[in-house]
């Protein structure tokens, strides 16, 4: 990104290769719609291009990119009044083609459905932290930078979220279990 911010146009291709797949995988978890996810990734990369002159020399590009895509997603969701966190548990059809076998696939879908249910019960701050750290594959430091909070705060949110999820899975009688 430093090279691109200084005016090297060829660096954008490398930037795309490094970031776009991660951004796409991350945002697909929230939108469940490949066309919208593509649009958000495209908008994010365009915003990064337009704001390249404001990129601080030597700073990390990943938290910046994730912060932008998250902002664009929240703005879009607000505008379209989408139910961001509610999900019917259905997955993208394309994703199914990458899964190994019917039995394993069913187990993974069930697990994912249960986890999503529990995630929806967390506070918004905890949900965001978990999404960035696990689905976005950001380190605690990167997630903290992307949210504008301290690393200690991210660690605490993730720890509380995992405790809540663990408790929910350990406890009897989950509602809406398939």
């Amino acid at each position: 990104m430093d090279r691109y911010a200084s005016g090297d146009p060829a660096a954008f291709g490398e930037l795309y290769d490094a970031l776009a797949p991660r951004l796409y995988a991350f945002i697909m978890r929230s939108v469940h719609d490949s066309a919208r996810a593509e649009d958000l990734v495209q908008q994010t990369l365009l915003q990064m291009h337009c704001a390249r002159g404001r990129f601080v020399r030597g700073s990390k590009v990943t938290p910046w990119a994730f912060a932008i895509i998250r902002r664009l997603f929240l703005d879009q969701a607000r505008r379209k009044k989408l139910e961001v966190l509610s999900s019917d548990g259905s997955d993208d059809v394309e994703a199914a083609s990458h899964r190994p076998g019917p039995e394993e696939c069913a187990q993974m879908r069930e697990l994912e459905y249960l986890v999503r249910q529990e995630l929806a019960r967390l506070t918004p701050a905890q949900q965001t932290a978990v999404e960035l750290v696990y689905y976005g594959q950001l380190s605690n430091a990167e997630a903290a930078e992307a949210l504008g909070v301290t690393v200690a705060s991210i660690k605490l949110r993730v720890q509380r979220a995992s405790q809540a999820i663990r408790l929910a899975f350990a406890g009897p009688g989950r509602e809406g279990e398939p």
Partner: protein, 240 residues
């Protein structure tokens, strides 16, 4: 790729690692589309933006300095020189800290963490007030009331000095903050307000508490509020 140092694995949270890490679903034509779009939209480089920002910021501070000197500049007005210098040194140290924290970005494009920024931004005006009262209390009569000077002139001067630099900051940082542009603007407004408080202290001989609250502290809060509003309007990064 990094591994989160937490107790719960990605698998336990339902992450399909293959999808998350390789992005196997990413459409191949997206790259060509993005590259073609950016080719049609030239964006300024870091050097050209830095030059623009330097010009706008310098111009705003020149205007602020002209306003300050037109109003009379540094006025001793019967105060001991050590009172003026001591007040300025203490206030200057606080101003240096808040300007460094609020106008700098701490080596990150996204700026400093909220928890690191807020205490400095909120504490600085209070520290300036406390120092002014403490240092003035060392001189007899320095804290006396001036019935003809309730603080409105200081309020007006501070606001007129601080207005241009606040706007210049917003122009220099426009459409750059995807997280909390309101806080960025608020911090900048307060930092610039603290600089104006330093200049107003050099100009104004009054250290009576109600005068300080109205004429020296309220402008900092007002510039902070203006900064927060302008930050949300101008500094926030928005989608189409």
């Amino acid at each position: 790729m990094t591994t989160p140092d937490s107790e719960v694995s990605g698998e336990a949270l339902g992450v399909d690692q293959r999808t998350a890490l390789t992005g196997a679903q990413l459409p191949s034509q997206l790259k060509a589309r993005v590259l073609s779009e950016i080719a049609q939209r030239p964006a300024p480089t870091r050097r050209s933006l830095a030059r623009q920002a330097a010009v706008v910021t310098a111009a705003s501070w020149v205007i602020a300095a002209v306003i300050f000197f037109l109003a009379g500049g540094i006025r001793i007005t019967g105060r001991p020189a050590s009172l003026v210098i001591g007040t300025a040194i203490g206030t200057g140290l606080v101003v240096g800290a808040v300007v460094w924290a609020a106008l700098g970005r701490g080596g990150s494009t996204l700026g400093r963490a909220r928890q690191a920024l807020l205490p400095i931004v909120i504490g600085s005006p209070l520290a300036i007030l406390a120092w002014k009262l403490f240092w003035s209390a060392q001189y007899s009569g320095a804290l006396d009331q001036w019935p003809t000077r309730p603080g409105f002139r200081c309020l007006g001067l501070s606001l007129s000095i601080g207005l241009c630099p606040v706007i210049a900051f917003m122009i220099a940082r426009r459409r750059s903050d995807p997280i909390r542009p309101g806080l960025t603007g608020f911090a900048a407004g307060v930092a610039i307000g603290c600089v104006t408080a330093l200049l107003t202290d050099l100009w104004c001989p009054v250290a009576h508490l109600p005068h300080l609250l109205l004429g020296h502290l309220l402008p900092i809060a007002a510039l902070g509020a203006l900064g927060a509003w302008l930050g949300r309007q101008l500094v926030g990064m928005r989608g189409k």
